[in-house]
Symmetry: C2
Subunit: 276 residues, 2 copies
């Protein structure tokens, strides 16, 4: 089959979106479509211009024999504000209030479209941060971790509370949970990480930051280092000092009034340069 430019554009767009943060040699496209490299370069310029017009991503061209093109997912400020606004609106429904002042968020974490958009937001924020893996704690952080990981093209590592036979040998640590001050355990399969990796930590909710701090201690056991902390919702209701200072959040939970059934939310620090 001889591909026309219009067909090549559709197919290349599809291929690039499925392979973020991956260097694709131009020969991949020129042989796939039986087209000259100069035509492929013209195609890529059109794709690049359209992605940039939308703010959904950048195409970076690496010149030379070992070069090619790389798609870097991005999000415009406008789009980020829209996503965060939608998320805040959904969260502010008083029907979400649970006994003890907790917010029901499970349905939002189970919404794959929302998770995909939020994943791209965080991937955009950390696009230049040289990240090797994403770490989260079971269970609720897993959809967020996977959504970010897909846009950064890195693996997900899931820390568990208990050890399972299907994990093989594990490393376990004890840590003090921030708010309840209880001793808790974190377990990670030894095969999950190599030493020297830079790891982005993520979770759905952060109060004092005990869980994040626990993950940092676990990283140290694997000779890895944190490359950032990404949370959906941070709580402002912190009596004691926060254990984690350098993080990026989408939404900040100001106050919950169980009696009046009100939830006060504000934008997180996503747009602030360098995070909190």
């Amino acid at each position: 089959m001889k591909w026309k430019r219009s067909e090549r554009l559709v197919d290349m767009t599809q291929y690039l979106l499925a392979h973020p943060h991956t260097l694709i040699p131009l020969t991949h496209f020129s042989s796939a479509y039986d087209a000259a490299k100069s035509s492929i370069s013209e195609d890529l310029a059109i794709v690049k211009g359209t992605f940039e017009e939308r703010g959904t991503g950048r195409l970076i061209t690496v010149p030379g024999a070992a070069g090619g093109v790389k798609y870097i997912p991005d999000a415009s400020r406008e789009e980020a504000q829209e996503i965060i606004g939608d998320f805040m609106e959904a969260l502010s429904d008083p029907g979400r209030l649970l006994p003890g002042g907790y917010l029901f968020m499970t349905d939002l974490l189970g919404n794959p479209g929302l998770m995909d958009r939020i994943g791209r937001l965080f991937a955009a924020r950390y696009k230049d941060s040289d990240i090797d893996a994403i770490m989260t704690v079971a269970t609720k952080g897993i959809p967020i971790a996977h959504a970010i990981a897909r846009h950064l093209n890195v693996p997900v590592v899931v820390v568990r509370r208990d050890s399972k036979v299907t994990e093989g040998s594990t490393v376990s640590i004890n840590y003090v949970s921030g708010s309840s001050r209880r001793i808790q355990t974190m377990v990670l399969s030894k095969r999950s990480m190599q030493s020297g990796q830079r790891v982005l930590l993520t979770d759905d909710f952060m109060k004092v930051g005990g869980t994040m701090n626990g993950m940092k201690n676990l990283l140290a056991e694997f000779d890895c280092e944190p490359a950032g902390v990404a949370v959906l919702v941070e709580s402002e209701d912190v009596q004691e000092e926060r254990l984690v200072e350098d993080y990026v959040s989408l939404v900040r939970l100001r106050q919950v009034n169980e009696k009046e059934r009100t939830i006060e939310l504000v934008e997180g620090n996503y747009f602030r340069e360098g995070g909190n």
Copy 2:
């Protein structure tokens, strides 16, 4: 901005891929690009032809005032065979053997690119099955459930082993695990499902099918019904009768020999019409 056809094609492809199983009125595109409906129809014909050439998806056009276009993710037989082949090759590494004859799969479940491809496979298999939600049990089925859900545009419901305060009120059932014959508990937040939904069950591994059967019992509590069962790996090593007969699997684990350190795998029933 006035969009050229080439730019429209790139942008439409991106939009359609981000909105699977969603009816998009043609006016959405004609107003976004300030273009005549006839031009949009011509654009869509090009996108449709390219997707079909690749086998990655179909575009369905619904005529009339309430009509539009719908992108249905698909997978060609060739691509399905390639994905399953890659997965089997990765799984057959003897280094995955764990004490007790278990296979280490956690790294594969943490690979977002692989999960995305596998998700599209299952979404293609169940594209006409009228599915309202995907259900799995924490923890390991979550990445698969989300990958399928994203391509089918339906929510994910995660069953837990324990009740958590952030889940609100819950429904819990006891069931007998298939292989160990132990009584186990499953808990699901009451807010997670509405009655009358058709639910696709999924998990990473299935032996006798006790967990799947437990989820079916849980569905009954919510007046919902199973619409299918999708598993990555099924085990052939079943002494007793399987509790679940109607399922789709990618890979079948024939035999594990701990002493010789060999793993015998064959293709699952994915390609068989109607599953097992």
